[in-house]
């Protein structure tokens, strides 16, 4: 194994997942290299979110192996993957705590990096107070990073959709991940917001961070991705640099049907 392969952040080997009669993922294998933006694309129902659920430990594969930073996640609960493997995800349909404030949502992201127990939290011991101040400072820092510092005290559910997505990203970043999984971050954003998001995702990669992203907006995928993996009916049908994938006959067929001669970005 080469040195580069050793650093692979996410490695899926022959991963399969079946829901009753539906084969959501079949023998999926792919690697995600460190400090890159890798896009996972494919038509609706291709199994992209299922794969995210498996990698983040919210669902289990029927067969195959998933490794994060070289460690198998097979027996790891979801919270341990965030805590120990430093891999965190966002959700396709934003899962913010809509009744809590924006700041509290992002503070929740700090939970996994803080440790005050029941006793010191209840008695408000100096260590717990210090930690709580640190939680707030860090949360505010990440809110500023996504450009929403001024929204800290707003109730999360009252924010426009685009801002809620950014809060979710800030909350994920607050867990101090080394790898960030974004599930359709640009869904529901207007073109202005989508451009800003592309800039943000590049800034996240520069932190440095490995980003794996599910996205349907091809313009964005093709401009920001270092690597693209294409899923169709639960199978990997193409992988490589954006330009190469755009020319791949099988990919074009999956997106546009047989006989069409346009690239997916058109």
């Amino acid at each position: 194994m080469t040195a580069a392969a050793d650093q692979t952040v996410i490695r899926c080997v022959g991963v399969s997942r079946q829901f009753g009669g539906l084969r959501a993922l079949a023998n999926v294998s792919f690697d995600v290299a460190p400090n890159t933006i890798t896009a996972l694309i494919g038509p609706n129902g291709a199994g992209k979110t299922t794969l995210f659920n498996l990698i983040s430990g919210l669902d289990r594969a029927d067969a195959g192996r998933i490794e994060v930073h070289g460690r198998s996640i097979e027996r790891m609960p979801a919270h341990a993957i965030v805590h120990s493997l430093r891999l965190v995800r966002t959700f396709q349909n934003v899962r913010l705590y809509s009744k809590l404030t924006v700041a509290d949502n992002v503070r929740l992201g700090r939970h996994v990096r803080s440790r005050s127990g029941f006793l010191s939290s209840t008695l408000k011991l100096p260590a717990a107070r210090r930690e709580e101040r640190d939680i707030t400072a860090q949360a505010m820092g990440w809110l500023d990073f996504v450009g929403l510092g001024h929204r800290a005290n707003a109730v999360a559910g009252t924010l426009p959709y685009g801002e809620q997505r950014l809060v979710e990203v800030a909350r994920a970043l607050a867990t101090e991940p080394r790898c960030l999984l974004l599930d359709e971050p640009a869904a529901g954003l207007n073109s202005q917001e989508t451009k800003a998001l592309a800039v943000l995702i590049r800034a996240i990669r520069a932190l440095p961070m490995t980003v794996l992203l599910i996205e349907h907006k091809m313009d964005m995928v093709m401009t920001i991705s270092d690597q693209v993996t294409v899923l169709n009916f639960g199978e990997v049908i193409g992988a490589g640099a954006p330009s190469a994938v755009q020319r791949d006959a099988r990919v074009i067929e999956a997106y546009l049907g047989q006989g069409e001669q346009h690239s997916p970005s058109d």
Partner: protein
């Protein structure tokens, strides 16, 4: 998270403690009724932490109180342990049983968890009723009174003060716990378990922990109850008592600790002060319950929250008052 209503709750506690301290001997009856309300408040606060903070339901909560009561009572009476130790032991064992029940509860949800905890309460009741050490259906009598560092708590006023001091400490501790990273995690678990796990919150650990805290509080309440009354019987720890706790939590408002305490006082006092209506009492009590829930669908906690906002707003208007904004309470 800060809980709105905690300022008003402070006034309620202050009022109760002053009442207990100055109540003349002729007022022994209300003092005794409100003492029981304090014991119920201790349990209900734990139950509301369980239901309101993690969405787990318990229909057998007084089972834990029974464990605390019988164990502490037995240790006091038979082994002649000091009260502090018996109390600690009773609540510790209740907490340990809470670990087991809480662990089983992880796999259950909604009505299935309700059924399992109902069964737990039934088992404890059955054991208390059938076993010889517990005294069977007649129960355990002549349990020594509370004593704190050698001071025997004998008069109704002293018992009242002791119980409400414990209740105040318990409520303050739970409020403080909720106002911390753990409180945030509990709120997250209640609203969306999957999202919480995806953020690295150990959902199972917190769900069990909350079960244990609720069990320990019931155990403490039960242990004090045994010494307060001087005698206990299985009938004091039946399904009705668990349901009554659930009613207190509902009227108080799910998740609201201040509301729970006030509901415990109100719902314990109400039927006692309705005694003059005799046969209409159950009907009147039920009507009052319905009225409370219709008037305050968010629970009494909502009322206390309004009161808090009023107090804060009033303080802001004072020329020398704190420069707090009226929304200062909502940002934690």
């Amino acid at each position: 998270m800060t809980q709105e209503g905690f300022i008003s709750l402070g006034f309620v506690f202050a009022g109760l403690l002053i009442f207990g301290a100055v109540a003349p001997y002729e007022m022994i009856y209300p003092v005794q009724v409100l003492s029981l309300a304090g014991l119920i408040a201790i349990q209900a606060v734990g139950l509301n932490l369980l239901i309101g903070s993690t969405g787990q339901i318990s229909l057998g909560q007084v089972g834990f109180a029974a464990i605390g009561a019988y164990l502490s009572g037995g240790l006091l009476k038979v082994a002649h342990w000091p009260f502090e130790l018996s109390l600690a032991c009773g609540s510790l064992v209740a907490a340990l049983v809470g670990v087991v029940v809480g662990f089983s509860a992880l796999r259950l949800r909604g009505q299935y968890l309700a059924m399992a905890t109902l069964a737990f309460g039934g088992i404890v009741y059955g054991l208390a009723y059938e076993l010889e050490v517990t005294g069977g259906p007649l129960g355990m009598l002549r349990i020594p009174p509370m004593s704190i560092f050698g001071y025997r708590v004998l008069s109704p006023q002293d018992k009242f003060l002791a119980i409400w001091l414990v209740a105040a400490v318990v409520a303050a501790a739970i409020l403080s716990l909720l106002w911390s990273r753990i409180g945030r995690a509990l709120a997250a678990i209640r609203d969306d378990e999957v999202a919480a796990a995806a953020l690295g919150v150990n959902v199972a650990r917190y769900k069990i922990s909350v079960f244990v805290i609720a069990a320990a509080l019931s155990g403490i309440s039960g242990a004090i109850y045994a010494s307060y009354l001087g005698g206990i019987a299985p009938s004091r720890f039946g399904l009705n008592e668990s349901i009554a706790l659930l009613v207190v939590v509902t009227v108080g408002g799910l998740g609201s600790i201040p509301g729970t305490v006030v509901a415990a006082v109100l719902l314990t006092a109400l039927p006692e002060f309705m005694r003059q209506y005799e046969i209409y009492r159950p009907t009147a009590y039920a009507a009052a319950l319905v009225l409370l829930i219709v008037l305050f669908p968010g629970g009494l906690g909502q009322v206390l929250a309004w009161a808090d906002r009023y107090i804060v707003a009033a303080c802001c208007r004072l020329p020398l008052g704190p420069r707090a904004r009226p929304d200062a309470l909502r940002t934690s």
